[in-house]
Assembly symmetry: C2
Homo-oligomer: 241 residues x 2
């Protein structure tokens, strides 16, 4: 697309399959320990606690805390409902919280990012913290040019300063930057600030019974089936414009 120099990617759900990865990882780990935990339920409830926990930071109800900290607190709150032992060791708790550092990419993500990297600056713009995103990228092979954890701003998306802050640090005006996400709300926030937008469909992010974000809800600049398709569509646009 004419004028786009950088693409910022939402990560959880857009680039990596957090739900499938965590259920696989924890089921194997739990089986080794003879734990009978309802892992799918725990993972869904844990993800459900994510937005409310961030909102307490966003509204100033509590001071800054990064995602690892919020996830650890949420796990302590919800774990018992799904059979997670109360007397979990600190090492076990670390293992589970760091499950969010070990998420597997959707199959199209690594090849799609490699294609895009040839023509664009590709960066994460995620509410995950720096350590989480760096560890994840290293393990999964995500070839980011830059990792914009919103932790760098001590804010969470959709705060406008996260989108505009990333563009400014890249030395680019907002319309030279495209936000790519599987979530319509993320793109709405980005478009309102002048960024370009790409919707990447992930209809199974929340499992087989997903109800939201099944498709593009507005006329985003690009609507793609996956990240590889985004690369193809951007290459075609570049020829057309």
């Amino acid at each position: 697309m004419n004028g786009v120099r950088a693409i910022l990617f939402d990560v959880f759900g857009t680039v990596v399959d957090w739900r499938g990865s965590l259920i696989r990882d924890f089921s194997a780990w739990g089986a080794d320990r003879g734990l009978t935990v309802e892992w799918a339920g725990l993972v869904d409830a844990w993800r459900g606690a994510y937005v409310p926990s961030m909102n307490r930071v966003r509204t100033g109800a509590r001071g800054w805390a990064n995602l690892d900290t919020l996830q650890r607190e949420s796990l302590d709150e919800i774990g018992g409902q799904f059979g997670l032992p109360k007397a979990l060791s600190e090492a076990d708790r670390d293992y589970l919280v760091h499950g969010w550092h070990r998420l597997d990419p959707w199959p199209d993500a690594v090849p799609g990012l490699v294609r895009l990297k040839a023509d664009f600056i590709i960066a994460a713009l995620s509410n995950g913290n720096v350590a989480l995103l760096v560890n994840m990228a290293k393990r999964a092979g995500l070839a980011w040019d830059m990792v914009f954890a919103t932790e760098l701003f001590r804010l969470y998306k959709p705060d406008p300063k996260t989108y505009l802050g990333a563009a400014a640090l890249l030395g680019l005006p907002p319309d030279a930057v495209m936000m790519a996400a599987a979530h319509n709300a993320d793109l709405r926030a980005a478009r309102a600030l002048g960024l370009r937008t790409a919707f990447i469909a992930r209809p199974y992010e929340y499992g087989p019974r997903q109800v939201g974000d099944l498709s593009a809800e507005e006329g985003w600049d690009i609507v793609a089936d996956d990240i590889d398709d985004l690369a193809s569509k951007l290459a075609k646009k570049a020829v057309l414009f």
Copy 2:
């Protein structure tokens, strides 16, 4: 080395040859325009203005300004002494300032970083701004896992918060992080905070008449001939410890 998880690299001089790159780049650019500028002198004077200009920010004599801004101001101050036309267009001034985004790596840097990346988190920790470091890495093929521009902290090295801030964002204690630099002062600042240290000799960084930082001035944890040698020495240490 036992316990080291991440290596933070100084960039200017340690990873890239700023002096040789700028003189080559500007000489070719000036020749195309029929300019008679004493480029080597200009580059040396420009680099000479770098520490005093940062010190004005460090001491609070002026508010935050990133390196691109400081370099642009310094160029305006010194350019005339070396024959740079006063009436330089904004595009030409941009070209020269962005010369610092187009620096070539020392020959050992790209292969050395690739080797290190297999076993360690490798990150830039540089006074260059985010745009500069990201553009440089993309052009030169520096496979950073993270780019810690000190701009992210709105501070410059050797402020302790830059070294400790990078370690904290990686979720690592200082002694799990190694600072690698061609400058003894950078390593002194890092060691005082508990980081491990690697000296990388760059005796021609400032050209054939370099007087400082010709060799290790203290017993740094590793003293290496170049970044490839650092990879070899760390691999050997890992076996020994």
